[in-house]
Structures are given as C-alpha cells and as structure tokens.
C-alpha cells in the first residue's frame, strides 16, 4: 500500500502567506505598481494598443487610424505596469533578508495616494470649464 500525504488548501494558503519570499515580492509589487503606472501613462508606454472599432491589436504605442475609430491604451498601460512590477518584485526576492526586511511597509498605501496629483495633472485635457 502506498500512503499519500495530502496538503489541505488552507494549510497551503497559510504557508504561502507566511513565506518571506512572497512577502518581499508582494511588497515591491505593490510599491512599483502606482509608480510604473504613472510612468507608463505620462510617457505613453503601453505594451500594446487596442483599436475597438476594428478589433485590432498593435504592439506598443499606435495612434488612432483615420475612419477606424479611437485607439485604447489603458489595457496596454495595465499590462506594462503589471509585468514591470512583477519583474521588480521578483528581483527584490533576491535581496538578502536583512535588506528586504528594511523596505518600509507604509509605502504600499502612501504611494497610491502620492501619485494622485500626478494622475490628475496627466488628465489636464479634461479639466475644462
């Protein structure tokens, strides 16, 4: 007879939640997301451009084509941001534990608030009376 050790879902979840590697990844991922998103938005760096009128995708930034409707960049900014943040988060897991533990945790909620004025400024086209 063979015995099979089963790991219950809650136990696996608990061990994942206690992982120092995941903690460092999630911390840097959260801090990088607002910063990279603002950079992608301000610099106009979408991973791809979606043209809803023709259902077409272009890699990177592509302007709207005349008579084919608008171009959408938000999907591309989101993709660029999440991939960039995941890369930075993964790189952070290579840091020595002593250094990783010194990353200020308060930045995870301060940075999303701090980027608000920049995002409002980036939308200045719409603030007309």
């Amino acid at each position: 007879m063979s015995s099979v050790t089963r790991t219950s879902a809650p136990a696996a979840e608990a061990s994942f939640a206690r992982s120092e590697t995941f903690r460092t990844f999630a911390l840097v991922f959260a801090m990088a997301t607002p910063v990279l998103y603002v950079i992608c938005d301000m610099m106009n760096w979408p991973l791809f451009t979606y043209h809803p009128g023709t259902n077409r995708l272009d890699l990177g930034f592509a302007p709207a084509v005349k008579n084919e409707g608008p171009a959408m960049y938000w999907y591309g900014w989101t993709a660029s941001t999440l991939i960039g943040s995941a890369i930075l988060g993964s790189l952070a897991t290579l840091l020595p534990e002593k250094l990783a533990n010194r990353i200020p945790m308060s930045l995870v909620w301060i940075l999303p608030i701090a980027v608000l004025p920049v995002l409002i400024y980036s939308l200045k086209f719409f603030w007309r009376w």
Binding site: A30, Y37, L82, M105, S106, V108, W109, I120, F126, R128
Partner: protein, 173 residues
Amino acid sequence: MAGRRMDFIYDYISVTTFWTILFTVHALLAVALLGALTHQAASVLMPVRAANGPANFVTRFRSVHGAGYATAVCVLWVITFLFGAWIYTKYRIQIRIPIEQAGFWKTQGVFELKEHYATIGLGLLPIYWLFWKNAREPKYDAPRKWLTVTLAAMAWFIFLVGHIVNNVRGFGS
C-alpha cells in the same frame, strides 16, 4: 477577440440587452466588493474592544472578522476589473464619444482617473492579502489598517464615478 466569439448570443438577445446584463453583473460585483471593503475598513478604523452593553447597528457593522473577507475582496476586485475591462471596449465607442460631443469633459476626466485607480488597486492586492492572512502579526497592524482604508476609499471612488458616468446617458441607452 472575445466580442466576436460571443456573437452567437445575439441570436437570442439584443446587443443592448447583452451589454446591459454585463454592466449589471459588473455593478453587482462592485456592490459586493464595496460592502466587504467597507466592513473591513470600519473594523480596522473603529475596532470593537469589548462588549459594552447591547450592540447597536454601527457596532455590529464594525465587529466583523476582517481576515475572513481578504480572499473574497481579492477575487471580487479581479473579477469586477475583468468585467469592467470587457465593458470598456463598448464604452469607448458607444458612450465616451457622445459624452465628449455633449461636452461632459470633467465627467470623462474622472472616469479616466477611476480606470487608473482600478489598475493600481490590482497591484495592491497580493500584499493586502498577505497582511490579512497574518492578522496576528503586530508588525503588520498599521500597514494593514491604512492599506485597507486606502483600498476602501479607492473602491468607493471607482463605484461612485461609475454610477455618475452611467447616469450621463441613462440605463440601457
């Protein structure tokens, strides 16, 4: 694309009905997310320390076990986001263009801000989940509290802006 693969549905329901159903599901998911996050935010801002006489509505509202909401909040944020991203393709052509033609520039501006914060919220979910799954770790108390309040404020802003933008043209238009 998904839109073209879903075309068979239009044999059974109208295009307007299809998108109205999608939007309604998106709105209901957002309500569930908002409720969960608001309960959690109340529980960390005004924790119930000890029973002091009979509990009133506010006491019961804030005395929830916040950790039990964490996974649901993450799942709801992601699913609501995906529905919103799907509806956005239709919005960009059918709603935004008339909004601009009508000169509702500020309405469109706050909608763009809402989309920005929906993405930023996605990035906060893994650490939010970890903070709540380690609710007995005192070192996470302060960041957990303020991150939860920040996410709740973002969810309220996103929800209210979505509601206002929907009102510009009215349900089913």
